[in-house]
């Protein structure tokens, strides 16, 4: 379908998908992990200050 250049086109698209998917999954996984960590800390009774801190 892509003629003789398939060997270059297919890896291009595949690698792009892999890298972007990897980035997305990393961000999502980190988000979930940190949310859980905060929930665990707050369950132990450690509260944030009023107004939210940096």
């Amino acid at each position: 379908m892509f003629g003789k250049h398939a060997a270059y086109i297919i890896p291009s698209y595949t690698l792009t998908v892999l890298v972007i998917a990897g980035l997305l999954l990393w961000i999502l996984a980190t988000y979930r992990k940190r949310k859980n960590e905060i929930a665990a800390l707050e369950a132990k009774g450690i509260k944030r200050g009023a107004g939210g801190e940096q």
Partner: protein, 254 residues
Amino acid sequence: MNDVATQKTGFWTWLTGLANPTRFMGLADRWIPWLAAITTALLALGLWMSFNAPEDYQQGATVLIMFIHVPTVWLAMFCYLVMSISALGTLVWRHPLSDVALRAAAPIGAAFTLLGLITGSLWGKPMWGAWWVWDARLTSFLVLLIIYLGIISLGRALEEPTQAAKALAITTLVGFINLPIIKFSVDWFETLHQPASVSRLAKPAMDVAFLYPLLTMALAFSFLFATLHLMNMRNEILRRRIRSLKLRAAAGER
């Protein structure tokens, strides 16, 4: 006149109001799903347009690679521009979210730069016969990757948040000089890389059959960047919350 004045104040008030992390998180939570949806739609459209574009006279089907290579390069540079503006935000206006924006953007920019290098290489081999040449544009784009990785390393090494923010901001701004070098090196030095064909002011030298898919993909990648950036900014804010909770816990136990 009054309207413009209130509008301007309105925007700045809103921007400063965002400095409150909780408010930002709320905004991010609301916007991210929409941005993700738009990204997906645009990607689908862009890919459809790309695969339905005719084969280029010279390039054959490899023009398909151009439809990802060019957007990733543009986004890699745009991301650094966002980081530089954030750096100014930290240094000049001391906006608290600027540092969050900078740190969150860096890994995304590095990923786009890496993709730009890889797709460029895969496009270059069939087109011009070389996987890599040390010409000005490719070299300065590789340098951009090194700068990104350096900023990421620095961010992980520096613990204390305020000082780290200043350090990252200054480093980012010092590295900004690389961006004009990437952009204009193709005009300054005779290189193998093809000169600009899209940003010519009069009329793009590219045929519309290729221009429209390219612009659509570029738009899609821009929304992808926006989505990923907001998501990562959320993560960065959570990281700081965890850090301050832990510090608070350690202080309380004493």
